[in-house]
Amino acid sequence: MNINTTKIISLLFFIFSAFYLYTAYQIQVFAFDENAPFNARTFPIYLGYAGLFFSGLKLILPDPNTIKVDHKNLEYKKTGILILIAIIYGATILKVGYFLTTSLFLFASYYFLGERRWILMFLLSFPFVAAFMYLLHGILDIYLRDPFLKSIGVMG
């Protein structure tokens, strides 16, 4: 069997399905439901077996269309930084508020992607988010939590 990344993904999916199946069997059902033709664990159990079946087949059968990815050409660093910024954005949005975190997230993302036109970067972050916030919060009446704007008295 030729080992390639697709096979490794299939193996990981096989392990994941086995774990899913094990967890499905652990689902607690009501005593009167235990022997019912269908209960809360029936469908997940079928899914677990289906996952094992298809990933098992993918592992065993030959793979004529091997996908080759040229890792040298992939921008792992920039992608990683962008993901990190998004995680920080997610971590701070509730505490700091929508306006400041979103504006900073956009500004930082433009910067790390190589943009250096400062005025445009500013316009497409702070005023842009303010306008978008006005559309959601002011016009469409969709609540946006913002402790920062509240603390400076801009938002009620």
Binding site: T5, T6, N65, I67, L74, I83, G90, I93, F105, Y110
Partner: protein, 498 residues
């Protein structure tokens, strides 16, 4: 019937009502373009405003918002690969690649004309078949629905190119597994939550679709920035192309639109099925009926591949009004919201509506149709301007896509956990996409997962645990036989090519 149509037209064609439909279309398009805010939200937002008007005007405004939001959803699918609603996921399969090839204007024009044609044909079907179809839709039982879901998932064979069938099936199972997270709908027992309260309600559709489409697309673009083939793509994005549809493309659409409108309308009539299944089935069927040469273009910017789901989802929108108006059963989330609005106006949809208040029945149908006409007139001239979104440099567009994705989730849940979950799913999806694991089957399975389990549960409970329900009813057996034929046909095609 002609008298009814005339009454409907007289109500809908006043200056005030035409103005309402224009305003509705405009706002609907804008709201529909925002990820996370689909037709259902758009109509829900309009309900308090419509209560200030008489019922017909209120319904006309909602009709404009509805079709505007559907078109807006297609626009974000085509331009940003960010379908905000399930019904426009299939639109992105060929619409987005077409936009990537510098034909964004054309893709939007094809979507607009297909939607219009789908809506027009389904309005005709609605006029003639509404009363009789309501009886047919009532004859569908749980085993039939379960078989229909299986058929829907088998359509994934249409999405998988040669040698990708097992990958597609793995994605189907993964989608169903994701859908199984959260409370069991009947017993309220929590499953796969690992004592995390944030997972009790399950994973939201918008989260999964934003993660697997918009966010992972943005990450893939950054990841492949130095890839020579991606660089070529970026250059072509500066060309927005014309909105003119040439003769060859029109010929393709003439064939696709009638068959997709029939599928869309019939699926839309079934309560609970709706535009999503309709668009996926229409896409799958279209791929099966076109020539081998055209088949190769599917997923890479095919005219048929874009026209089919757009026609079907609009036809299904009209179709979903059949059970709502004739039986009082909403066929989709959107019609459920509209049903609430109708009840608020003091209009009671149901079997008696068609008989006792034909003027309301026809006014609704006519206003829906006029909404579509106005939408086409308003949006076609705007297409070149809307398509300019793609001319935004990648350094700005990528963060903006991420921003829209996160905002879509944030306004829904106000929850950090959902944002982390979305980033996690997006990272996994990006990795899977690198190795050609298709995402559409995952999304379809995720959408159908809950319904599928529900119908399997009812079928098994009613048959006391026996699987005989699969062949007991002729309708179930016919749907499953169709599924078998599709699978066997694909196996035959695979081996015959070898």
């Amino acid at each position: 019937m002609i008298e009814g149509i005339l009454i409907g037209l007289t109500t809908a064609l006043t200056i005030q009502n035409i103005l309402m439909v224009m305003v509705g279309c405009f706002f609907g398009t804008i709201i529909g373009m925002l990820p996370g805010l689909g037709p259902m939200t758009a109509i829900a937002l309009m309900i308090p405003i419509t209560y200030g008007f008489d019922p017909a005007t209120g319904l006309i405004l909602m009709a404009g918002v509805y079709y505007g939001a559907v078109f807006g959803g297609s626009t974000s699918s085509i331009l940003l690969n960010a379908p905000g609603v399930p019904g426009t996921v299939a639109t992105s399969f060929d619409g987005y690649p077409m936009a990537q090839q510098g034909k964004a204007g054309k893709a939007l024009a094809i979507a607009a004309w297909s939607s219009f044609a789908g809506g027009t044909l389904s309005a005709i079907y609605l006029l003639f078949m509404a009363p009789s179809l309501s009886k047919v839709s009532l004859s569908f039982r749980s085993p039939d629905y379960f078989a229909l879901m299986i058929l829907g998932l088998t359509a994934i064979a249409a999405f998988s190119s040669k040698g990708q069938f097992l990958k597609a099936m793995m994605m189907v199972v993964l989608g169903l597994m994701l859908a199984s997270v959260g409370q069991d709908s009947l017993s309220d027992i929590t499953r796969f939550t690992f004592d995390n309260m944030n997972l009790t309600d399950g994973i939201s559709f918008v989260l999964v679709v934003m993660a697997t489409f918009a966010m992972s697309e943005a990450l893939t673009i950054i990841l492949k920035r130095n890839d020579p083939t991606s660089a070529a793509k970026q250059v072509s994005l500066t060309e927005l192309g014309s909105i003119k549809i040439n003769k060859e493309e029109r010929t393709k659409m003439y064939k696709t639109i009638p068959r997709s409108s029939i599928i869309g309308f019939l699926i839309g009539v079934l309560p609970g099925a709706g535009a999503t299944i309709a668009s996926f089935l229409a896409y799958g069927m279209e791929r099966n009926v076109v020539s081998d040469e055209e088949k190769e273009k599917f997923g890479k910017g095919s005219v048929n591949g874009l026209s089919a789901p757009e026609t079907a989802n609009n036809a299904a929108c009209s179709g979903s009004f059949v059970p709502m108006l004739t039986l009082g059963i909403p066929g989709s989330g959107t019609t459920a919201v509209m049903l609430g609005a109708l009840l608020g106006f003091g209009v009671q949809p149901g079997p008696r509506l068609y008989m006792t208040n034909p003027e309301i029945f026809w006014s609704i149908i006519m206003s829906m149709y006029i909404g579509m006409v106005i939408l086409l007139i308003l949006n076609l001239p705007l297409i070149p301007y809307i398509a300019r979104i793609l001319a935004v440099p990648k350094n700005y567009l990528i963060p903006l896509i991420l921003f829209f994705s996160v905002t879509g989730i944030y306004v829904m849940s106000f929850n950090n956990f959902d944002i982390y979950l979305m980033i996690g799913i997006a990272v996994v999806a990006t990795f899977l996409r690198l190795y050609d694991f298709p995402m559409p089957p995952l999304i379809l399975a995720f959408v159908l997962g809950g319904l599928m389990e529900e119908n399997l549960r009812r079928s098994l409970l009613l048959s006391n645990g026996s699987w005989e329900f699969l062949w007991d009813r002729t309708l179930t057996a016919c749907i499953l036989a169709t599924t078998m034929i599709i699978v066997l046909w694909h196996i035959y095609k695979t081996f015959s090519k070898k």
